[in-house]
Symmetry: C2
Subunit: 163 residues, 2 copies
């Protein structure tokens, strides 16, 4: 089972591809997509879309999992994370992939065992599960890998929050 | 000059194509794209994207104008309007089109002459400018046509709010 995890954003978007075989997990690919604030929105969302297409075409994930946060203080931020999600959905639809969403507490529950764990504990677990020598960086990529592993965790329990 | 006006939304998306030649304005096309709440998000955003592509391919607008609202009470609503905007940006990028955004007050200023005009006055002006026998319906389509005319108004004054 190969999952593409995504920490969605318009300026920084973390992508992480993880493969599970049996109980083993392996990091296949990690990438940070950055777009310039000074570029027009169609170009920025277009770049995100192209990166998604390239990663999906190369690693052929069987599902996409994204981090969803609804406690954004600013509506404008929610709106712009939505732009990036539009690109995720169109790429997913193009490849016939289902998209799953998990909030930060679900990630902490899955990887650390309780919903109020520290971010450092999540990063430590991602590193341990994937057998990495160092914590994955930058944080958006670490978040993307955590989301992919979170989806595999809930999937293994017959669940998963499809959006 | 042909402009595609859009009232963005994930459940209801209004599209209106308007042509200006000299001082005359003509309605070329109007469409309401509805998606089902019960369908997965990739399918819904995919349907919006396909409708945008079809309308752009048929009417070849030279610009896209969208209604932008930042006073959403709910972050989740802003987020989902963002999903639809992602589709707009990807379609725009595909066709090399610029996207312009205007808030409700800018629409009222452009079409009625003052920013606190009633919605009915905006609808009346859309009908008058386009020479329609009735007010355009439903409201999402009327809003899309108003946005297209708003863009032409600001463009004629050398402006336009590119996003
Ligand atoms: Mg992050």
């Amino acid at each position: 089972m190969i999952v593409l995890g995504i920490d969605p954003g318009i300026t920084n978007m973390g992508l992480g591809v993880v493969e599970q075989s049996g109980k083993a997990h392996r990091l296949l690919h990690a990438r940070l997509v950055k777009t310039a604030h000074s570029d027009p929105a169609p170009q920025r969302v277009g770049e995100i879309f192209q990166n998604l297409r390239i990663v999906i075409a190369e690693f052929r994930p069987q599902a996409i999992a994204v981090e969803e946060q609804f406690f954004y203080r600013q509506n404008e931020l929610s709106y712009k994370v939505g732009w990036a999600m539009g690109a995720v959905f169109i790429a997913a639809n193009e490849w016939g992939l289902e998209v799953y969403g998990y909030g930060p507490m679900k990630v902490k529950q899955a990887l650390v065992g309780y919903g109020h764990a520290e971010k450092e504990q999540v990063a430590f677990m991602v590193r341990a599960i994937l057998g990495l020598k160092e914590n994955p960086k930058p944080t958006h990529v670490a978040d993307a890998l955590a989301i992919a592993l979170t989806h595999l965790f809930y999937l293994g329990r017959g669940g998963g929050n499809r959006i």
